[in-house]
């Protein structure tokens, strides 16, 4: 039984910070803001020390904490991280800070509750990525819905109630079936730890059902076509911070779940049903990208583009079986998995930044209609430059993080099949189209109307937030090696698990 350690700190520190913020109350909003900022910065610092202490080159879980939690259910407070979860934890801690700062003066309705909700959610989300006990995972996974439900519902737009109910019920519906699958696995394995479930032999029929139950939970979160419809609504109605967290982190939980649960626990069913995921991913990439092209609302456009980009994550993860069948080369398969993880991180940064940009414009003009803007760069040069950078990164421009993930996945899909690669690569064209067209209509051109002419350029606070994100996007784009090294061993291990049949008697 290992002691409490750094991982518990990064989970419970923001939650405690959130409670402190809540205790300050809306009357002492200033104190609440500083408390919130301080907690998010401390959490980030703790995460940086996680990174510093993390040893590359091993697939073993690190920073393990294992304490008795519910002996009656043989479930433990069991935490640990590997090369797949660490980047996501860093992303979570990194993206919460700009969200807190971005709401600094924009949120005047119940500010303390606003910050508290985000901090509590940060802790719960990190908990999802750290949990090595599936019941603990589910615990965080569901609890996370509560603050998000409140965030969209309280600080959202005009149709916020509809959007937040849809969000909650959709995700709840997906996850309860996962719970049934987890309990089933527990009853067979006698233990709620994920490792025990990964080693459990299962017949193909069992794997199929479990795979489908998992898929429902994760596909809704990713979201994959056709269960994506909650996302545009939730994004459009959520406040800026809510959209950022939704796009940057919550969607990644679906991808993470597929990598941590579906692929290793049900490898044979994943192999058997890989055509399903690949097809749905390609539909998301091609069809949803076209849907994004015709959006009038900027947030909706980015929301649809998120669905298309998350298609790369699921595609990269499930191409492995095709690649192994076609070439037998593990390197190609590793590219696909690497691409999936890099794409998650990169999309987290880029979509978060784009939502922040839209938030900046919305604060000034109180509309997200593309047609209400035009020539913004003439009045907001600093903002315009950054927005163009993020839009280009979103379309996969080399030198930005958006390129790395997409390139790796397209590379992998070439090894699987030329046609997959062709379809996947179409996003480079369509993606460029909707991003550039957005930039053309909103940023460039003549100043469209007197309201736009009155827009103020970024204040230092906004500039700091977007500037740091821009640096991160560029850094990851030109020098992805540290991240790829970090996850190398874990991805290899995952590949091993995926390719080892769990059918009884197959060993």
């Amino acid at each position: 039984m290992q002691q409490l350690g750094l991982l518990s700190v990064v989970i419970w520190l923001p939650i405690a910070g959130g409670l402190v913020t809540l205790a300050f109350g809306d009357q002492r909003a200033r104190a609440a803001r500083w408390a919130a900022l301080l907690s998010s910065l401390l959490t980030l610092a703790a995460c940086v020390s996680l990174y510093a202490g993390f040893a590359n080159g091993t697939a073993n879980f690190q920073f393990i904490e294992r304490l008795a939690w519910i002996p009656a259910l043989r479930s433990q407070y069991y935490l640990g991280i590997d090369g797949i979860s660490l980047p996501l934890i860093l992303l979570t801690a990194f993206m919460t800070v700009p969200v807190i700062i971005a709401g600094w003066s924009e949120i005047d309705k119940r500010p303390a509750q606003y910050y508290a909700a985000f901090l509590i959610m940060e802790g719960l989300m990190i908990g999802v990525f750290c949990a090595l006990d599936s019941l603990l995972f589910y615990f965080f996974w569901e609890a996370m819905l509560i603050p998000m439900f409140v965030i969209i519902g309280v600080w959202g737009g005009p149709r916020r109630v509809y959007a937040t109910l849809k969000f909650f019920l959709y995700t709840f519906l997906g996850s309860v079936l996962m719970l049934v699958a987890l309990i089933y696995l527990y009853l067979k394995a006698g233990d709620y730890s994920i490792a025990a479930m990964q080693q459990l032999p299962l017949t193909l029929a069992e794997q199929r059902w479990i795979f489908i139950a998992f898929l429902l939970a994760f596909a809704v979160k990713v979201p994959m076509w056709p269960v994506h419809t909650w996302l545009p609504d939730a994004h459009v109605e959520a406040p800026t911070g809510g959209s950022v967290i939704l796009a940057a982190i919550m969607l990644k939980m679906g991808g993470y779940g597929l990598l941590r649960f579906s692929l290793p626990i049900t490898p044979d069913a994943s192999h058997e049903l890989d055509w399903l995921i690949v097809t749905l991913s390609l539909i998301a990439i091609v069809y949803i990208a076209f849907v994004a092209l015709v959006q009038q609302d900027m947030k909706k456009l980015v929301a649809y583009s998120s669905i298309a980009h998350m298609g790369f994550v699921t595609l990269g993860a499930f191409l492995v079986f095709y690649i192994m069948a076609a070439t037998g080369s593990a390197q190609g398969a590793v590219n696909g998995l690497d691409g999936a993880v890099v794409q998650m991180i990169s999309h987290g940064l880029i979509s978060g930044a784009l939502f922040l940009c839209i938030g900046v414009m919305y604060d000034r003009l109180h509309t997200r209609d593309i047609s209400a803007y035009g020539g913004v760069i003439n009045v907001m040069p600093k903002f315009g430059a950054l927005m163009v950078l993020f839009a280009l990164a979103n379309s996969g421009l080399p030198g930005t993080s958006g390129f790395v993930g997409e390139f790796l996945v397209i590379l992998a899909s070439f090894k699987a099949s030329f046609w997959f690669a062709l379809l996947a690569a179409s996003i480079l064209v369509v993606g460029a189209a909707y991003n550039l067209w957005l930039v053309k209509r909103v940023i460039f051109g003549e100043v469209a109307n007197p309201q736009v002419a009155k827009m103020q350029d970024l204040n230092p606070r906004e500039f700091l937030v977007l500037g740091v994100l821009a640096l991160a996007v560029l850094l990851l784009g030109v020098w992805p090696a540290p991240m790829l090294n970090m996850m190398e061993a874990s991805v290899q291990h995952l590949l091993q698990q995926m390719l080892t049949s769990k059918l009884p008697g197959a060993a």
């Binding site: 002996p71 119940r110 609890a143 019920l169 079936l177 049934v180 309990i183 527990y186 009853l187």
Partner: protein, 485 residues
Amino acid sequence: MIGAALPAAMLPSGPLTLAIPEISLACAACLILLCDVYFGAGRRGLTATLTMVALTVGVALTGQYGLTTQRFLLFNGLYVADSLAGFLKMAGFVAMATAIFYSQDYLEQRAMRGGEYYVLCLTALLGIFVLISANSLLTVYLGLELLSLSLYALVAFDRDSGIAAEAAIKYFVLGAIASGVLLYGMSMLYGLTGTLDLDQLSRIVRRGPDAALMIGIAFVVVAIAFKFGAVPFHMWVPDVYQGAPTSVTLYIATVSNLGSFALILRLLTHGLAGAPAIWTQMLMAVAVLSLLVGNLGAIAQTNLKRMLAYSAIANAGFVLLGFATGNNAGYQAALIFTVAYVITTLASFGMILMLSRSGFEHEEIADFKGLATRDPLLAAMMLALMFSTAGVPPFVGFWAKLWIIQALLGGNHVWLATFAVLVSVVGAFYYLRVVWYMYFDSPGDRPVPEARPRMRLILLLNTAAVTLMGLLPNALLSICQRVLP
């Protein structure tokens, strides 16, 4: 006669002190009635205080003398004392004390000061205790009637309220029919086996099913379903929940649930343990219907008490699902669910009582609008309670549902488990609506709730218990496992 038929060396006969919970309650009820008659009119609050004292003394005495880890029979085998009985009675004391605490202001404001209120609550609790310790069909019936008659009177306690009178009549008439049905079923069982003793019954019935037995059991199950408010015998639940004074609804929704649990446990899982195939099927059907009707019915409600009534029907479905597995894991799950439900529901109704003012029943869901702005603390607590009832972690309601689902899967009822989780998604909607009204809507001209620091503190402790048992559920789970080995 029955006692004589009992083999003498079967079980150790325990000391009379094991019946201390019932003895102390019966004495307390009589004493308090006398005190109320002589001194009650002059001193307001005296009866309530005495009742609290009586409950505290009851807890102390039970803790000292009334708990046992072995199984003892008393009174010629009519009465059983075991660890489960001790646990349920302690829970009953605590739940009733909390309920009384929440109700005091409400009763004061509505001039329902009569000391009979407290005496009736005590006799109802006594009925529950008798049920909990019943080891004979006779004792079961005695406990059930004592409980029911007290509750009928309590529902009609507000003499001037037409809606309460209507609810009481409905409850009484339907309850009387259910009692009749139960008696009929019992008489058939007696006719078939020649014994009223549940221990003997459980051995004799093992011989296997026949048509008469099946009919007898069906009658018993109908009566149980009525007591639980399970579909299709749920008609009284919404009307009684809405019509009764909120403090009485609180009592019926929480304390009385422990009695229903004991009823099914003693009658079916013990007395009819030999023929589980018959009653598990019946319970399954009743449970599935309850889950459907309860969850769908609750969506349409605008009155919170009525909504919670439908929610109670749905939750009865969950408890019955636990019993329908016919194995011990399922019974444990049902016990955990019952305890979690009682704790959460106490606070939910406590919240309605907290927000009610003199002349204003805070019972429409719309009355909660904007509570998050008017009183953030109360709103946050209600949020926790609603999510707990919906079965979302980190609250205790999640573990309750988890155990039921686990028991179902353990019994290979995969489809039932899937059905149960899917309907609870439907159920989540109406709990979310309360949160929506509190957090997303503006308060309008609704007033800021009164301070009432004492009540606020107890509510806070109650909600803290709901959260703490959600974060660290092991204590609750292992106690429930231990008392139902």
